[in-house]
C-alpha cells in the first residue's frame, strides 16, 4: 500500500480526475455578505461512501428547505461540500481548505470518528465551530470547545448494547470481533466489555481485523471454538455483511450484535440472509411516532425518493441545530455561533430531542433495532 499510496496525490493531480463526485461549489463573490457559508466534509467516495452520501442528503434537505423559505435574515446559506474519500489525512486537508480558502463560518462532519478526530484540531485551532452528526467516539468533542456533536457517545452506546444483551436477550457468553484500525470500533468494544462484565456476563473471545479485509474465517474459527451465544461486531457495514456470511458458512449460529455503523442499505444487500435477526443500536427509527421524525421522513422521501437511514437523520439534525443557532444571532460570526450551539436545549430533531450538554455531546436515548428482511424493526428504546 505504501508505495502505491505515495503516488496517489501526484497522479490524481496529474490526471485531473479527482475521485470525487461533487466538486466544491465556490461562488465568485467570496465576501458577499448576502450569504452564509457553511462547509461540509464527508466520505462521498471510498469504501464507506454511503455514510457521506446519506449525511449529505440530510444536510442538503435542511439547508434547501431553509433557503427556499427565505434563508436566515434574508441571507442564503451556501453549502460547500468537500470529499475526503474516507481517508483521515484527506479530512484534515479539506477542512483546512474550507476554513482558510472558502472562509466558512461553521463546519458539518464527519460520520467516522477517525476522520472527525483528524479534522477537529484544525477547526479548533481556527476557532470555527464544527458539528459532527454521528461520530460517537468520546475523544471527538474533547478536542476543544468548538467541537460539537448531535449524537450519543460510545460509552453510552456500548453499555446500552451490553445492557440489552444481558437484560433483554439474557445472554451470558459473548464474543467480540473489532476493527483494529478504527477509533470507533475499539471504543465501542471497550465500553461494551466493561458494562457486560459488570453485569455478570463473560467475554469468551476477543478477535480483531483491519478495515478492508475480506477474509474473516481465521477469527471466526477461533470464535466458534469458544461457543458464544452472540458476537458483538462494532464495525462499519462494509465489513459486517461479509463477516455475517462467513460466520454462517462456518456453522456459527450466534446472534449478531452491532452499533450505529451498521446502518446502511448496503447492509442488507451484502449481508442477507446471514444478517437476519441481528440487533444493533441506532440514532433513530423510521417507526418513531415523533412528528418531527415523521415530517423529516416524508420530506426526505419526496426529495430523494428513498427512506432515510440513521445517518441521513443525524446529518439533518446537525444542520438543523446550526440553522437554529444562526437564526438567533445578528451576525454569523464563529464565536457567536459557538455560544449559541452550546446552549441548544430540547431541540426537536429527526432523531429525537437534542440537548447539548457541558461536554458538547447530545444527551439522547438509543434505539435498538432488529434486522428483518430489508427493514430495521424497532425493538426498544434505552436510556442512559
Amino acid at each position: 500500500m505504501g508505495v502505491v499510496s505515495r503516488f496517489v496525490p501526484l497522479l490524481v493531480l496529474a490526471l485531473g480526475i479527482n475521485g470525487c463526485t461533487k466538486k466544491a461549489e465556490i461562488s465568485a463573490s467570496a465576501t458577499d455578505s448576502k450569504e452564509i457559508r457553511i462547509g461540509q466534509f464527508g466520505s462521498m467516495t471510498g469504501g464507506e461512501a454511503t455514510f457521506g452520501q446519506s449525511t449529505d442528503k440530510g444536510i442538503r434537505l435542511a439547508i434547501d428547505t431553509k433557503n427556499s423559505a427565505g434563508g436566515i435574515n434574508g441571507k442564503k446559506i451556501v453549502l460547500i461540500t468537500e470529499d475526503n474519500q474516507g481517508k483521515p489525512e484527506e479530512a484534515a486537508a479539506v477542512v483546512k481548505k474550507l476554513i482558510t480558502q472558502d472562509k466558512v463560518v461553521a463546519i458539518l462532519g464527519e460520520v467516522a470518528s477517525t476522520r472527525s478526530l483528524a479534522a477537529a484540531p484544525i477547526a479548533q485551532q481556527f476557532k470555527i465551530p464544527m458539528i459532527s452528526p454521528s461520530s460517537t467516539n468520546p475523544k471527538v468533542t474533547q478536542v476543544g470547545d468548538y467541537i460539537f456533536r448531535v449524537c450519543f457517545i460510545d460509552p453510552f452506546q456500548g453499555s446500552v448494547m451490553a445492557k440489552f444483551s444481558r437484560d433483554n436477550l439474557k445472554l451470558k457468553k459473548v464474543a467480540i470481533l473489532k476493527d483494529m484500525k478504527s477509533d470507533y470500533s475499539l471504543g465501542l468494544a471497550e465500553f461494551f466489555t466493561k458494562k457486560f462484565k459488570d453485569m455478570g456476563g463473560e467475554i469468551v473471545s476477543e478477535q480483531s481485523f483491519q478495515a478492508g479485509d475480506q477474509d474473516f474465517k481465521a477469527q471466526l474459527t477461533q470464535i466458534r471454538a469458544s461457543s458464544p451465544e452472540a458476537i458483538f461486531i462494532p464495525a462499519y457495514y462494509t465489513e459486517v455483511g461479509l463477516i455475517a456470511r462467513q460466520a454462517r458458512q462456518l456453522g456459527l449460529k450466534a446472534i449478531l450484535l452491532g452499533g450505529d455503523g451498521w446502518d446502511s442499505p448496503k447492509l442488507f444487500e451484502i449481508g442477507q440472509p446471514a444478517i437476519e435477526g441481528a440487533y444493533f443500536s441506532n440514532h433513530y427509527t423510521t417507526e418513531s411516532n415523533n412528528p418531527a421524525t415523521q415530517d423529516f421522513i416524508k420530506r426526505y422521501r419526496e426529495k430523494f425518493g428513498e427512506v432515510p437511514d440513521g445517518l441521513a437523520a443525524a446529518g439533518y439534525d446537525a444542520a438543523q441545530i446550526l440553522i437554529r443557532a444562526l437564526e438567533k444571532i445578528p451576525h454569523a460570526v464563529p464565536e457567536a455561533i459557538r455560544a449559541e450551539l452550546a446552549s441548544t436545549k430540547d431541540f426537536d430533531g429527526a432523531t429525537g430531542k437534542i440537548t447539548i450538554n457541558a461536554d458538547r455531546n447530545a444527551d439522547k436515548d438509543a434505539f435498538i433495532v432488529k434486522v428483518q428482511g430489508n427493514v430495521l424493526k424497532f425493538v426498544t428504546l434505552l436510556g442512559p
Binding site: V4, F7, L11, Q207, D213, A218, T238, I270
Partner: protein
C-alpha cells in the same frame, strides 16, 4: 485439533485466491520482466463487468452452471479487451524505454483505473451476483468445507497445469519462452515479439477475469478499490514462489494464505499485512529467486 484443521482449510482457500491472481502477475513478468501493477485493476474491472452483465441479462433469476459460464465468459472478454488496450496504449510505446519508466507507467495505469472505477461504477460496495450457489460440501464434526473453496483451489491448480502445458508444449508457448529468454534473439528467429507479448497479456488478463468471478462469488462484496490489497498480496505471493514461475506462483499463494491464516488465528490480525510484506523483504534478502524460481529478480 478440529480448529487447526479448519484453519488449514481456510488458509488453503485464501491461498488459492492469491495463487489465481499471482499467476497473472507471473505470466507477464516472465515475458516482459514487467510487474504489471494494473493487473489487480483488470481483476476489478472483470468483477464489475460480471456484475453489470449478470444484472443486464437477469442471470440471478436462475442461477446455475449456464449463468456461471456466461458470467465468466463476459468477465474474461472484458478483461481481454482491457488488457489489449493497456498493452497497446501504455506499455507498447515504452518498449525501448528504461524499466523504471514502464514500472511507473504501470502504477499510473493502476491508479487511473482505480479512480476512474470510482467515478464510473460508484464508490460504494456492491453485491456480486450469486450466479452459482455455495453450499457446504463436507461437514466432519465442526469442520466445514464449502463448495466454492474446492472450486477455487481446483481452478487455480487446473489453470496452472494448463498454462504449464501451453508454455512447454505448444508452438506459441515455445515462442513465449524464446521472447522471455531474449527478445532480441527472438526477433532474429522470426518471432513476432509484439504478437507474443500481446498473447501473454491476453492470458494474464483472462486469468484476472476468471479470478474476479470466483473471488466475487466467495467474497460477494465488490468495489473499485477491491484489487489493491489482493493484488499486492498476490504479487508478494508471486515473488515468494519465484516470479516468472507458474508452479511458484501457486505455491507462493498457498504459503501466503496459510501463514496469514495462522498468524491471525494464533497471534493477532494486526500482524497480517506485516507478515505478508515482511515475507517479501525476507525473500528478497535471502532468496531473491523465490522458492522455486530460477531467473534473477530485477530490482524495482
Amino acid at each position: 485439533m478440529e480448529e487447526l484443521v479448519q484453519h488449514i482449510i481456510n488458509g488453503l482457500n485464501l491461498g488459492a485466491i492469491y495463487a489465481l491472481v499471482a499467476l497473472g502477475y507471473t505470466m507477464v513478468y516472465g515475458v516482459l520482466q514487467l510487474i504489471n501493477f494494473a493487473h489487480s485493476e483488470v481483476y476489478m474491472v472483470g468483477a464489475f463487468s460480471a456484475y453489470y452483465g449478470a444484472h443486464f441479462l437477469r442471470l440471478q433469476a436462475n442461477p446455475g452452471w449456464m449463468a456461471f459460464a456466461t458470467v465468466i465468459g463476459l468477465s474474461v472478454l472484458v478483461c481481454l479487451a482491457l488488457g489489449f488496450l493497456i498493452e497497446r496504449l501504455a506499455y507498447r510505446p515504452l518498449r525501448g524505454a528504461p524499466k523504471t519508466n514502464v514500472l511507473i507507467t504501470a502504477i499510473g495505469v493502476s491508479l487511473f483505473l482505480q479512480f476512474s472505477g470510482q467515478v464510473v461504477f460508484g464508490a460504494d460496495p456492491k453485491l456480486f451476483p450469486q450466479v452459482l450457489e455455495d453450499y457446504p460440501l463436507m461437514r466432519i464434526g465442526e469442520i466445514q468445507i464449502q463448495f466454492f473453496d474446492v472450486t477455487i483451489l481446483g481452478t487455480a491448480l487446473l489453470t496452472m497445469a494448463l498454462l504449464q502445458y501451453f508454455i512447454q508444449y505448444t508452438k506459441t508457448g515455445m515462442a513465449i519462452r524464446a521472447v522471455s529468454f531474449s527478445s532480441r534473439s527472438a526477433v532474429l528467429m522470426g518471432i513476432n515479439v509484439n504478437r507474443i507479448i500481446m498473447v501473454t497479456f491476453f492470458l494474464g488478463s483472462s486469468l484476472a477475469g476468471v479470478a474476479a468471478v470466483l473471488v466475487g462469488l466467495k467474497y460477494p462484496k465488490i468495489e473499485p478499490l477491491m484489487g489493491t490489497l489482493i493484488g499486492l498480496k498476490a504479487f508478494v505471493a508471486a515473488v515468494l514462489g519465484g516470479i516468472g514461475s507458474l508452479p511458484g506462483a501457486v505455491l507462493g499463494g498457498l504459503v501466503m494464505g496459510l501463514s496469514e491464516e495462522m498468524v491471525v488465528a494464533y497471534l493477532s490480525s494486526t500482524y497480517r499485512d506485516a507478515l505478508a510484506f515482511g515475507l517479501l523483504i525476507f525473500i528478497l534478502l535471502f532468496r531473491p529467486s523465490g522458492i522455486v524460481g530460477k531467473i534473477k529478480v530485477e530490482k524495482v
